[in-house]
Assembly symmetry: C2
Homo-oligomer: 230 residues x 2
């Protein structure tokens, strides 16, 4: 019996690649910068796991993802040879992560699921980032859970367990939903049930995971489909 659903957000609920490409273009192209914007988004996202690994390894104290994104932006801008942006522009660009668009099935799918179970993000994104994404996309959560309340980054088991504990629901009655097998494998190892949702275009057309590479309890093509089968 599932009493709560936890959601990965980047890629699973929101299309970070298209959104970051759009936001970067809207901020940087008026400054005379012309790039392959989706590749710029990829380059920024490529710094994501290495930055969190600094925290997971203990080399860096826990820092909100906004802070890591901002450090990563400096790395990416340097790699592109862009060295003339002022601090306000870099801040505005970093806030692009707060304006990512949800995949079209997400808002109606979550609304349907919320009739049945408790819902929270279990993302590595910080609370204010999740709050802004919810407002931007009209999502209603019961709570904002995830890395910031656990002060650890997925796939550390502490993150999944902290979310279930915050809801006071046993891990085996909690469903982790993600488009990434690695996330679901870690959640399953922590005792949660798991649902894979396919986002085949997450990394660019046809470049997302189309099927899980780990054993999962549910496998769906949208959040609406998950709401129908639960």
């Amino acid at each position: 019996m599932i009493k709560a659903c936890l959601f990965d957000v980047f890629g699973t609920l929101v299309d970070w690649r298209t959104s970051i490409a759009r936001e970067a273009e809207s901020i940087l192209s008026p400054l005379g910068i012309a790039l392959d914007w989706p590749l710029f988004a990829d380059a920024w996202r490529d710094q994501y796991q290495p930055a969190m690994e600094e925290v997971r390894s203990g080399r860096l104290p826990f820092s909100k993802l906004d802070v890591l994104h901002r450090r990563n932006l400096d790395v990416v801008l340097a790699a592109y040879g862009i060295d003339h942006l002022d601090e306000a522009t870099k801040h505005a660009l970093n806030r692009a992560w707060h304006r990512l668009d949800a995949w079209p099935d997400v808002a109606p799918g979550l609304a349907a699921l919320r009739q049945k179970v408790l819902l929270a993000p279990c993302s590595n994104g910080n609370i204010s980032l999740m709050v802004d994404l919810a407002r931007h996309n009209g999502l209603v959560w019961d709570a904002i859970l995830g890395a910031e309340i656990a002060r650890a980054y997925k796939p550390m088991p502490a993150v999944y367990l902290a979310c279930a504990d915050a809801f006071d629901i046993a891990p085996e009655h909690t469903l982790m939903v993600a488009a990434h097998s690695s996330d679901l494998a870690a959640a399953a190892a922590a005792g949660l049930q798991t649902a894979f949702v396919a986002r085949p275009d997450e990394m660019g057309p046809g470049l997302g995971e189309v099927a899980p590479s780990t054993r999962v309890d549910y496998c769906v093509s949208s959040i609406l489909e998950l709401a129908q089968i639960l």
Copy 2:
């Protein structure tokens, strides 16, 4: 400029006294127990501050309010000489705190405020308790903040500051709303703006605070009135 409102919950948004009296009667009177139910609610609530003081003083590690309520229930039952309740009954009684009714202005008031600013509880109640009260009363929050994310109890300044920080909003742009002067004085000392909402019947008819005994930025008689003046 106010960008977020934080709310005390027990007494400010929900009528704990009438609700606990009703829930206790509904669980205990079928067992042949007859009490003055509002006084039973008062007796339970009287253990609230002493229990949190054990945590604030460092004598007890941080424990969720559900855990403190459960310990306090044992104290109150012993004082009443009620020694024959089984664990399931005591658990059900403890969950009464998850079923408190909001004052009538709260749901429409929060809905109106949410058109203007971010909203979260900043309560000593734990996350799951806040989640259940929101569901029970049809309240929509942007996040569930408060004691559990700070791992400290109000009026420790860390609680107010952790909530503002989670929203990434400066304390001076954050409004703490409460029916209790002591809560507002602590929030103001931490740098937040403050709003007093009168709940004259919180402790029983005519026994709540009718006016603040500390300097506040706003003074209203309902959450709807707060929404109108912000």
